[in-house]
């Protein structure tokens, strides 16, 4: 008599039609849908960046016309900010892993979750339509009166695309917040939550409170352009700087939406690969909340030279220094976690180290910009460009890759090639400082942002920067290739290849549709490596 073993049912093979993916309510599938969308957006944003960097290898405007160049850097900014950086960690890793981490079957509102993805798709399509039909040339910041009165590009279409994408972010934040409040497994108290969940909660706060402001601001801009409303029109007594206040009231907290989740990833990766509890759990958890709250109080540091009173500038400068402290605290805590750990150097922790070094430099260079006396000189120069790329790419994107490499076996049931993954990490670690390091120097020299042509003496530094960018491009492409390859030929992964704590590792890889056969009951904190026996995969 033969016995047939049925293949294990996972969230992947439970149903394989296209419709079952596009109409899914499963948070894991939605995470994969986000991965696909964000990957496409990253590719596009990268192509726009390539055009910009290639143009900037020479001082003259020989590759692109001025108008094309302006549309190119705007497209790069819009695509990367709204369709990569904002959704990347919450949409992909947050969706996939967070319900598993808290022992839930799904998020609180699965259909709303799918709607979030569709809203991002629709916003993306609007934006692509705007780009394809002539582009937009205002910069991703859309400052008035240029964007409201002077630009003859597709401001309205792009504005609407971002408006729609904003609701994707709002609904994700709402969903995660309710999930974390109401769907934790028995015994999963707040202080037993993994720090990634704290990070997502703090992020949700910002998404909920901040994003509606950019929505209404863009709506006001659209009304200015389409109907001739005069809220920002100086000829009517309107204040163009009011736009800046409203814009940055969201867009500054937005950068904390971009960095808090990757910080959460780093907490997970460093604890796992040091085999050790995090140093100062409550300090790291509360720092996330502090960053979210303080992040709302600093927006006018983008307006130091825009005519605000020196006294209000002082207040915002002070608060901008204050918001740096919780990030510093986290960095010290992660470093201290390594002390007397048992450090297992796998790819995820390589990315975490890259994060630590680059986020550190990026964050510290924020102090230069928070310093009033220096910001006058540095505002709107390449120093600012370098600063935010260090944090966004060196920090957020590296944090994302740390998480992607960490949870890849859980998501796909496969391991990737460790040699190639380390090689790609090295390429990125070399390419990145080469791309953005020279830009600090260019900035202090006085090279302004958004310049299509520039004085000859800035060329060498620009060439170095573009050379670094090409190395980055190779590194990122390599990552996409070996990850895709692993789906086909990668070694099969068990439930817990990293021997990690955490509920997500207590179920199979890939997980079954309902996550857990039996609802887990939690009896200890998140990182009790030293107390218990690690289950080997």
């Amino acid at each position: 008599m033969t016995t047939t073993v049925l293949p294990r049912v996972t969230y992947v093979n439970v149903k394989t039609t296209v419709a079952s993916w596009l109409l899914t309510k499963d948070h894991k599938r939605i995470g994969i849908l986000y991965l696909g969308l964000v990957a496409v957006a990253f590719l596009l944003g990268g192509i726009f960046a390539a055009a910009v960097r290639i143009e900037l290898t020479t001082p003259q405007g020989d590759l692109l016309s001025a108008d094309s160049y302006n549309r190119m850097f705007t497209a790069h900014g819009v695509m990367m900010v709204f369709f990569v950086l904002i959704p990347v960690v919450p949409g992909i890793l947050g969706n996939f892993v967070m319900p598993l981490m808290i022992g839930a079957k799904d998020v609180a509102f699965p259909r709303l979750n799918l709607l979030s993805w569709y809203l991002l798709v629709i916003g993306f399509l609007f934006t692509i339509a705007a780009l394809v039909s002539g582009g937009v040339d205002t910069g991703w910041t859309f400052y008035t009166p240029y964007s409201s009165l002077a630009s003859n590009s597709n401001v309205v279409m792009t504005g609407l695309g971002i408006f729609i994408a904003g609701f994707s972010s709002i609904l994700t934040g709402l969903n995660f917040m309710v999930t974390i409040h109401r769907m934790r497994a028995p015994g999963m108290t707040w202080f037993r939550l993994p720090l990634f969940v704290w990070a997502l909660y703090a992020t949700a706060l910002v998404q909920i409170l901040g994003t509606p402001i950019i929505a209404i601001t863009l709506l006001m801009l659209v009304l200015e352009r389409v109907l001739g409303f005069g809220i920002f029109d100086p000829r009517l007594g309107g204040d163009p700087v009011l736009f800046q206040h409203l814009f940055w009231f969201y867009s500054h907290p937005a950068v904390y939406i971009m960095i808090l989740p990757p910080m959460g990833v780093i907490s997970e990766v460093i604890t796992c690969f040091s085999r050790k509890n995090v140093f100062g759990y409550s300090f790291v958890a509360f720092s996330s909340l502090a960053i979210a709250v303080f992040g709302f109080l600093v927006w006018a540091h983008h307006l130091f030279v825009a005519g605000i009173s020196p006294y209000s500038a002082m207040v915002f400068s002070f608060l901008s220094f204050a918001v740096a402290i919780p990030s510093a605290v986290k960095t010290f805590n992660w470093t201290a976690t390594l002390y007397q750990g048992a450090i297992w150097l796998q790819t995820p922790i390589w990315w975490a180290f890259g994060f630590l070094g680059l986020f550190l430099v990026g964050g510290l260079t924020g102090l230069f910009l928070a310093s009033l006396g220096l910001d006058v000189h540095l505002h709107d120069t390449y120093f600012v460009v370098a600063h935010f790329h260090f944090i966004m790419v060196g920090g957020a994107i590296m944090g994302f890759f740390a998480g992607l490499h960490y949870w890849w076996p859980k998501m796909t049931g496969r391991m990737y090639n460790e040699f190639l993954s380390r090689f790609a990490a090295i390429l990125v670690f070399v390419g990145f400082p080469l791309t953005f390091g020279p830009q600090f120097i260019l900035g202090y020299l006085g090279m302004p942002r958004r310049y299509h042509v520039y004085p000859d003496e800035f060329q060498v530094l620009n060439v170095l920067s573009s050379a670094g960018a090409s190395i980055l491009a190779v590194g990122y492409t390599l990552i996409a290739l070996y990850l895709l390859f692993s789906l086909w030929k990668g070694e099969k992964a068990g439930a817990n290849p990293w021997k990690a704590t955490g509920l997500e590792w207590q179920t199979e890889s890939p997980p079954p549709p309902d996550n857990f056969a039996v609802t887990p009951i939690v009896t200890e904190g998140a990182y009790e490596y030293s107390k218990r026996e690690i289950k080997v995969a």
Binding site: N70, P234, F318, L356, V376, R449, K531
Partner: protein, 335 residues
């Protein structure tokens, strides 16, 4: 070849050294903390590495003294930087009382500079060595930003408002001038240079190139042509207040609020006269929106500035001296 690659901007104004000193300090602090963390990570990783992944780390969960230490110490260092930076900032934004004033407007895509003696230049700004200069400017269309890296000064040009920067040039030479707020197609073409000259050379340049009316004289001319002189009688008996000696003074409005008569107030009063009426006067002044352009506004402001404290008849020549310039009286042709 390598020596031709600039890595640090020239210091060409009195403000540059103090900005740079602050920069070096913050760089040192940054380097210090970056090194601590990077070295910490490297040392711990090497010392505590485990190739198997099977051992576990020590059961350490935290240390309140350490947490407090590395929160409080960075906080105080930040406050130190904040304090120093704020002092530098106030020096950057508060011009001294006596400055050589130059007006400017930015518009897509050029900068126009107007010296008060009447000379104007496009995309180039001549200034004398060693004297404090204040550039008062606005935009005629969208946001721009006047940026002179070698002087370490910058301020946005906002339509409908006046901004200013000030500096004392300390080095003869020619320095970049950039627009630093994205303004459309030729944003990166909206550049020029600041030419710092020895005082004698500057005088020679100023007086060369044919006579032109000083700004204050031009303003006086407009004041007559546009009919302002009809209501704004000097003795205060007209339908509008006297403007003599009013620049910089405090005035009470009809609403009871007080306001300082500055460039912005004068500009607003010419374009939207009903908004901030002086107490005791009715809303009879017509608007000149569309009648005067930015250059004319600046000339009128310069004229009003030149009106001395009450008791003297206004004269552009006397006014030039009062304003602290050394330009010879503009009336009377070439000198």
């Amino acid at each position: 070849m390598l020596s031709g690659i600039p890595l640090f901007p020239l210091q060409a104004s009195n403000l540059a050294p103090e900005v740079d000193n602050l920069y070096f300090f913050v760089t040192a602090v940054t380097a210090f903390f970056a090194l601590i963390v990077i070295i910490g990570v490297l040392v711990f990783t090497i010392k505590y590495r485990d190739g198997t992944g099977n051992r576990v780390g020590a059961p350490i969960t935290g240390s309140i003294p350490l947490e407090l230490g590395w929160s409080i110490i960075p906080f105080f260092i930040s406050m130190g930087i904040f304090g120093w930076a704020t002092l530098v900032f106030f020096h950057l934004v508060r011009a001294p009382d006596q400055t050589l004033e130059i007006y400017s407007t930015g518009k897509r895509w050029m900068w126009r500079f107007q010296h008060i003696d009447g000379k104007s230049e496009i995309n180039q700004l001549h200034v004398p060595l060693g004297r404090p200069v204040k550039v008062i400017f606005t935009s005629e269309d969208v946001l721009h930003s006047l940026y002179i890296p070698s002087f370490r000064v910058k301020a946005d040009a906002i339509p409908g408002r006046y901004s200013s920067i000030w500096f004392t040039p300390t080095r003869v030479g020619e320095y970049h001038l950039f627009c630093a707020e994205y303004c459309g197609t030729r944003h990166s073409g909206m550049i020029g240079s600041v030419v710092v000259m020895e005082p004698n050379d500057y005088q020679a340049w100023l007086s060369g190139g044919g006579s032109s009316m000083s700004m204050a004289a031009r303003g006086e001319e407009l004041f007559q042509q546009l009919g302002c002189v009809g209501c704004h009688l000097n003795d205060g008996s007209g339908r509008g207040p006297s403007l003599v000696g009013k620049y910089g003074a405090q005035e009470t409005l009809a609403t009871g609020a007080t306001v300082v008569i500055d460039d912005t107030y004068i500009r607003e009063s010419i374009l939207t006269p009903q908004m901030k009426l002086v107490a005791g006067y009715g809303p009879v002044m017509p608007t000149f929106q569309g009648v005067v352009n930015e250059q004319s506004l600046m000339s009128l402001i310069e004229f009003i500035k030149s009106l001395p404290a009450s008791g003297q008849r206004p004269a552009a020549a006397q006014a030039s001296a009062a304003a602290g310039t050394t330009a010879p009286p503009a009336q009377g042709g070439p000198r």
